[in-house]
């Protein structure tokens, strides 16, 4: 069954208030085209989760689309911090549940396995633990190991409504391949109710079946497949294209104040009708070709 969809239809399937797991890690494989379309469609009150906060989440927070962020800290690597996320935490407009990266990964894993909780060695003795336990509804508790009598922190499973994952290629049923490191993406997909795959390239089922051991996302988890080149721009997609350093700098500068970020959104999100207009605005084919990855180096 084909699940090929337009970006706008895939995004329209998400109700305000949904919990989304996004595939970005700092400045790589971020769901940028998706986030821009969410903002254009005015979807609000989202809960966003990811093991390491990334640009896709930061943009949504800056646009006022996010109520709650569940993450393990994050930055834009050397380009800077997650200014929108940090501002939201500092002024109290964003509810942030801050964990370590493995804690969030274990919460997804518990969700993926269908177990009621996951014990973890991390967080003990830290203020992350103190802060999480002070929440009105805590997703963290302690339990006695029935076999040894030891005390263990346990995490509640994360069960996002939708995982949104940027991949290199997929077939029309959503059998998709992530090339390179997958960080938390496999567990995000399996913990979520359903998955939207954003593929740089849609290939035939025949291609997937030639090397099925490379399939990282089975189609059975997937509701929509959106084919969209440079969908992660300005972040990178391993072996497809490099990050756009200049544009990331534009983003970092713009996120310094809410006013300058509004101007950024007006130009790059609201000012274009779709992803194709966006690609023209940021330099078109000529500029994007310069970002194409070397097949051996992967960047």
């Amino acid at each position: 069954m084909t699940k090929i969809s337009t970006l706008s239809d895939a995004v329209a399937s998400i109700p305000s208030g949904a919990h989304l797991a996004l595939s970005g890690f700092a400045i790589t494989r971020c769901t940028m085209a998706f986030s821009r379309e969410v903002i254009r469609q005015g979807i609000k009150n989202l809960t966003i989760s990811q093991c390491v906060g990334a640009m896709d989440a930061d943009m949504l927070v800056g646009a006022g689309a996010v109520k709650r962020l569940i993450y393990g800290g994050g930055s834009l690597d050397r380009f800077g911090r997650l200014n929108c996320v940090n501002r939201g935490i500092e002024d109290g407009s964003l509810v942030a549940d801050e964990y370590s990266s493995l804690s969030v990964a274990f919460r997804y894993l518990a969700g993926a396995l269908g177990v009621p909780f996951m014990p973890i060695r991390s967080l003990r003795g830290s203020d992350l633990m103190v802060q999480l336990k002070e929440r009105s509804v805590s997703d963290l508790a302690n339990i006695t190991d029935p076999f040894t009598g030891e005390d263990w922190p346990v995490l509640k499973p994360l069960l996002p409504d939708v995982a949104v994952v940027q991949v290199q290629f997929s077939d029309e049923e959503g059998n998709a391949c992530i090339i390179g490191p997958r960080w938390d993406n496999n567990e995000q997909v399996r913990a979520s109710q359903r998955t939207i795959v954003i593929a740089e390239h849609v290939v035939t089922c025949e291609t997937i079946c030639q090397t099925p051991e490379q399939t990282t996302i089975p189609g059975l988890f997937v509701s929509h497949v959106v084919e969209l080149p440079f969908a992660a721009h300005p972040t990178s997609v391993y072996r497809s294209y490099d990050y756009d350093a200049e544009h990331i700098q534009v983003y970092v500068e713009a996120t310094r104040t809410p006013e300058s970020f509004q101007l950024f959104l007006d130009k790059y999100v609201y000012g274009v009708k779709d992803h194709w207009e966006y690609l023209e605005l940021v330099g078109g084919l000529q500029h994007l070709s310069s970002l194409k990855a070397d097949p051996v180096m992967g960047y």
């Binding site: 700092a26 393990g72 800290g73 690597d77 370590s100 493995l102 003795g125 990050y243 992967g298």
Partner: protein, 254 residues
């Protein structure tokens, strides 16, 4: 006094000397990358280097802006996931050494990478944990690398992101954690931790630095043994490898 190496190079070399052959080492970007690549290219060729997002033993030829930069994944043995690296290697107990840095460290080696200011009042939020808390909690030992400044070596830190020896003595093992920081390497000195109180203890002072300079630029008094040696300076070969092979563009060394 004039030296033929920089303080950063000495820190990287001191970090490398802490690593032994066949050890499994979890690193973040910056000085720890230089320290671990240097160890692997000299005395520890069978060491395993891990990046938290799912990278084992990369051999980059270009320097990257962070762990999310594919430049630092180049020629890896394995590209996998958080659950694989932080879970099945680190949480399972197979990481010997973790390198950590931070905004602030206190006398018990607790680290802050989260925020500056008052957590319940006015503060600036910074980066948070990433895999740092997991590494601090699960590695057999950790090595902390940071600049030697009063605002970074603090009596009390704003937030414990990654636990060291918590409140000292046996508080770490009482919290259910083994391991703990073994060294703090700064640009002025190297510290270990007192075997009982778990307070930071001066282990060596870098050549050209006085004891007064070390103690006068930190927010607490470390344990100072009667005899404190000088830190062994880097060898010519170590400096050559750093400058010509590992970080030719001085991307990590600043």
């Amino acid at each position: 006094m004039e030296f033929d190496y920089t303080p950063s190079e000495l820190m990287a070399v001191a970090g490398a000397r802490e690593l032994r052959d066949r050890e499994v080492v979890a690193v973040g970007l910056g000085l720890p990358v230089v320290a671990s690549f240097l160890a692997k290219q000299t005395h520890a060729p069978n060491m395993t280097i891990l990046f938290e997002l799912g990278v084992i033993n990369p051999q980059p030829v270009d320097q990257g802006v962070g762990l999310a930069d594919p430049r630092v994944w180049y020629r890896a043995n394995v590209l996998s996931s958080f659950v694989d690296i932080l879970g099945e290697v680190l949480h399972r107990g197979r990481v010997d050494v973790g390198f950590l840095g931070g905004l602030e460290v206190d006398q018990f080696g607790n680290l802050n990478t989260s925020l500056l200011g008052e957590p319940k009042g006015k503060f600036r939020h910074m980066i948070g944990s990433g895999g740092a808390n997991d590494i601090a909690s699960c590695a057999k030992r950790t090595i902390i690398i940071m600049r030697h400044e009063e605002r970074k070596l603090r009596k009390a830190i704003s937030f414990i992101t990654s636990p060291g020896y918590i409140t000292g003595n046996d508080s770490r093992s009482k919290a259910g954690l083994a391991g703990g920081p073994s060294r703090v390497i700064t640009d002025k000195a190297i510290f270990s931790f007192h075997p009982e109180t778990k307070k930071m203890m001066l282990a060596s002072i870098h050549p050209g630095i006085t004891l007064e300079e070390v103690l006068g630029t930190m927010g607490f008094s470390p344990v100072v043994p009667e005899h404190v040696p000088f830190t062994e300076p880097p060898s010519g070969e170590q400096i050559r490898l750093i400058r010509e092979v590992i970080d030719p563009k001085r991307f990590y060394m600043g």
